[in-house]
């Protein structure tokens, strides 16, 4: 491969990778926020992404909504689902050993996957094209308008989340609970409410990712959340679990690595690369790229 075509391929895969990575970032944010608050790896989070896609499907096909209202509908419905899941499955386990609540999360994951199979059958469904995909050719690079919408929506959502977390009272309460639950309670913060809000925010971001991906691939099925869920989890660990900018960075890196591996080697190695990253990060920097070594509490 000569230099010119290498560079061309590189930039093309960078575009694909950032677009895919922004999806991972949206899902990874939920993992990291929920972990930050209650120290739970919510293994059902990938299935919330699937739920979001189905909510989007319902909104576009049955309710006939266009892209933006359907996205908002899916996010709101998933937020409610997230709150209910926490309330019913996780809250009763809050003082149980960590492993018990982790197993509960796996149970919730199976419940959502096979519950959806029961309701919607295991058949993949075609997600309607809510807007036309225009393919732009810029200096020989292929950019799909859907990629632009995915990236744009993801960026807007991440900016909104960053604003909520850093500049609103609710966001401050979230950070306080995540840092020290007892001290937060002594400020008068109702931790149950903050935890519910965290699940709502995380779930709505996953749902947005679900809708965006479904528009891109125009196909959904009840098990579609497994792989992206796992990869977003790797992205969250890569960036440093519990750290919000880390999830964004980790997601983008994951997406770019996958695109590069698919573009330069073979897409069959894509998943191996993703999980290879997990192994490397756990070996060399288990606290993640943006993670600090946690100081001992005296």
């Amino acid at each position: 491969m000569d230099m010119g075509s290498f560079l061309h391929q590189f930039v093309q895969q960078l575009i694909n990778g950032v677009s895919l990575g922004s999806i991972y970032a949206l899902i990874a944010l939920g993992y990291t926020m929920i972990y930050g608050i209650i120290k739970l790896i919510n293994f059902a989070h990938g299935d919330i992404y699937m739920l979001g896609a189905y909510f989007g499907f319902v909104a576009t096909t049955m309710l006939g909504l266009s892209f933006l209202p359907a996205l908002v509908f899916a996010m709101a419905a998933a937020a409610v689902a997230g709150i209910v899941i926490e309330r019913v499955a996780y809250r009763p386990m809050r003082n149980a050993p960590r492993i018990a609540i982790l197993i509960t999360a796996i149970g919730v994951s199976f419940f959502l996957e096979y519950g959806m199979i029961l309701i919607a059958t295991p058949q993949p469904r075609t997600f309607p094209a809510v807007f036309d995909a225009t393919v732009y050719n810029v200096a020989g690079l292929v950019i799909n308008s859907q990629q632009i919408v995915i990236l744009g929506s993801a960026l807007v959502l991440m900016a909104a989340l960053t604003y909520i977390v850093n500049h609103t009272k609710a966001g401050k309460a979230m950070r306080a609970v995540s840092f020290d639950m007892d001290a937060a309670q002594l400020m008068g913060i109702n931790i149950d409410k903050v935890i519910s809000m965290t699940f709502a925010l995380g779930s709505s971001l996953a749902a947005a990712a679900g809708v965006l991906v479904s528009i891109y691939y125009n196909s959904i099925d009840p098990l579609m959340g497994m792989m992206p869920g796992m990869k977003a989890f790797v992205a969250a660990v890569l960036g440093g679990i519990g750290i919000i900018p880390g999830a964004m960075l980790g997601g983008i890196i994951m997406g770019v690595v996958e695109a590069m591996v698919s573009g330069f080697f073979s897409s069959t190695f894509r998943d191996a690369a993703a999980f290879g990253i997990l192994i490397l990060i756990l070996l060399y920097k288990p606290s993640g790229l943006l993670g600090k070594n946690i100081r001992e509490k005296v």
């Binding site: 401050k172 950070r175 306080a176 309670q185 400020m187 008068g188 913060i189 109702n190 931790i191």
Partner: protein, 234 residues
């Protein structure tokens, strides 16, 4: 104002607090002294609602607060400065103080209280935008106290404010506790530094392995033979 009546608190199977009763009247400084592991912090955590007593009652201004959630108790005007300060080290001094006023929406009054806190602790004003994890121990103690004051407590619980601080700083902190009390806040103070605590308190309780061993006015206890031997270094 506060009436703790015969409470029992367990950590799993461990009976940590055994039939403790404490009374704090409006305007007083009451201190709870005792050695490590006597149950002082457990008592405060139970009053604040972080732990639930198995038996007994806790009345705050004639309302039952035993078993109530911690955030509701704060809303009633009972704030705590926890042991080890527990400032939100990842946030700025200002954000910490704002969280102290979390339940309040009276913006003008919050601004006034913020000014008061900065007057009491000028060093916090200097370090307003600094991340609080980078403050010294003494500054963190001041921040923790300022943060609790932002909740406008009528009763302030202080858990070992002198812990790990240099003698001069301890003096300053105790002086400020007296000031806080003089401006109308009732104080329940837990201390290992019994000498200092008894010197500013009206009433005192001595806690020993989860039980009240002695109670009386601070003066009585400071001159009591048993207390001198056990806690005041002869």
């Amino acid at each position: 104002m506060l009436k703790v009546d015969n409470i029992d608190v367990y950590y799993g199977a461990i009976h940590a607090i055994k039939g403790v009763s404490i009374q704090v009247a409006k305007g007083e400084i009451v201190t709870l002294v005792g050695s490590n592991g006597a149950g002082k912090s457990t008592t405060l955590r139970t009053i604040s609602g972080l732990l639930k007593p198995k038996n007994g009652t806790i009345l705050f201004e004639d309302n039952h607060i035993e078993g109530m959630s911690a955030h509701k108790i704060v809303g009633m005007g009972l704030c705590q400065v926890p042991e080890g300060r527990r400032v939100f080290a990842n946030m700025t001094v200002m954000e910490n103080l704002e969280l102290g006023a979390y339940l309040r929406s009276d913006k003008d009054e919050i601004a006034k209280d913020l000014e008061d806190v900065f007057k009491k602790f000028p060093r916090l004003l200097e370090r307003k935008e600094q991340v609080s994890g980078t403050l010294s121990g003494g500054e963190q103690q001041m921040l923790a106290m300022g943060r609790a004051l932002m909740g406008r407590p009528r009763l302030l619980l202080l858990d070992e404010p002198s812990m790990g601080l240099a003698p001069l700083l301890v003096k300053e902190i105790f002086h400020i506790i007296q000031e806080i009390n003089e401006s109308g806040t009732t104080v329940l103070l837990v201390e290992q530094n019994a000498n200092m605590a008894l010197s500013i308190a009206d009433k005192a309780y001595v806690l020993e392995t989860g039980r009240i061993a002695l109670a009386g006015t601070a003066k009585e206890l400071a001159s009591s033979e048993a207390v001198r031997k056990a806690y005041l270094g002869g």
